[in-house]
Symmetry: C2
Subunit: 224 residues, 2 copies
């Protein structure tokens, strides 16, 4: 029984990583569709989201089955309840990839307002934070998770910078740019929200490892 | 043992409703602070959010303890894993209340761009959907949950209407309105996102009752 349980836990871990890879791909592809203003690529991101939804359902079912079948205790129990929370965050990240793709559909047919500089930077940060939060989870590496949390400030700064530029240098100077500036501004907000979800996952990882509530108690990060 | 478990389940249910009431209050207060452009009220919403975070942690701990202590099966197991997902949604709804309050802080000191009509309507819808989703959960009422899901279209319509008006009648006609129009536009988006979370909760309720995956499978709603 014990051996089967360990095998099933490994399978669960591998499914979470697969779901993570799908979600990272969705962020990368949504921003690529923006760079190229490609309706076709944007529609692929939207269609692709069904796979992520199916994975969330399948992994949640695996968790409920594991709880029912093995009634795990302590660390294993906490691991499985954390998976339930992490899949929720991953699914929302994929939804934000869809949100970005929908902004792209609002933009196609018109030239891009300006060359994209900070949005791709923010997208890279969002992918990195998502990937490292999941790596920290699989490796049970609290230090790595803490580094992810610290990156969130940078995401906030980049988002604020993009928003200020689009508002002050475009929308306010030339109001005809507003319909093209607003979707870009929202893309920056969607990407920053992805970084928030990656931060949530990192907080869950620390919670799982240290079994104390760092989530909503960032001051606890400082006493290490 | 059985009796204690039932008592603890009832306690869990009552805590979820308390958390729901806090969250509904946070939506109502954030929109009230917008109507009055009251910095003081907005700051109260932001401060108040800590209570919601603490409740989420406390309820999640209750769930893990219940799983460890009683190793419940079938319907009870599913109920408890659903509570873990519902608290995540409730906590995000409260965060969106904070987002609205932050938009209010960006607006205070300047007159409101226009009398608010559709934003309060959208706020009422967001509160109603949140409340009814939780009522459906406590009463295990799948029909009520389905009605919540159907309301989400109305939320999308209101949000689109607010956004179109602010963009076309304000930002594009008079670019100096952009810094006052953008926060209002974002408030409408935050409220619509609250409706999405209420919809998620309603989907979880149906899932719990019917033990089939309506979440991400809206077509299943139709075969009833």
């Amino acid at each position: 029984m014990e051996k089967h349980f360990d095998q099933e836990l490994d399978a669960l871990k591998s499914e979470i990583l697969k779901m993570g890879a799908l979600v990272e791909n969705s962020i990368a592809e949504s921003v690529e569709s923006l760079k190229q203003l490609s309706e076709e690529r944007a529609r692929k991101v939207i269609a692709h989201d069904k796979m992520v939804d199916q994975m969330e359902n399948a992994i949640d079912e695996m968790c409920v089955d594991l709880l029912a079948l093995y009634q795990p205790m302590a660390a294993d129990l906490r691991f499985i309840t954390m998976v339930l929370e992490i899949t929720t965050d991953l699914e929302r990240i994929a939804d934000l990839g869809v949100d970005i793709a929908q902004r792209v559909l609002e933009l196609t047919g018109k030239p891009l307002l300006k060359p994209l500089v900070d949005i791709p930077k923010l997208a890279q940060l969002a992918q990195r934070m998502t990937k490292e939060a999941l790596d920290a989870f699989v490796r049970k590496d609290a230090e790595m998770a803490k580094r992810v949390i610290l990156l969130d400030n940078e995401a906030d700064k980049l988002r604020n910078f993009v928003q200020k530029e689009l508002l002050e240098d475009y929308m306010m100077k030339d109001p005809t740019t507003a319909p093209r500036a607003l979707p870009l501004l929202l893309v920056a907000r969607h990407l920053e929200r992805i970084c928030d979800h990656a931060t949530n996952i990192a907080e869950d990882v620390i919670y799982m490892i240290e079994a104390r509530v760092v989530k909503h108690h960032p001051e606890l990060l400082q006493d290490k």
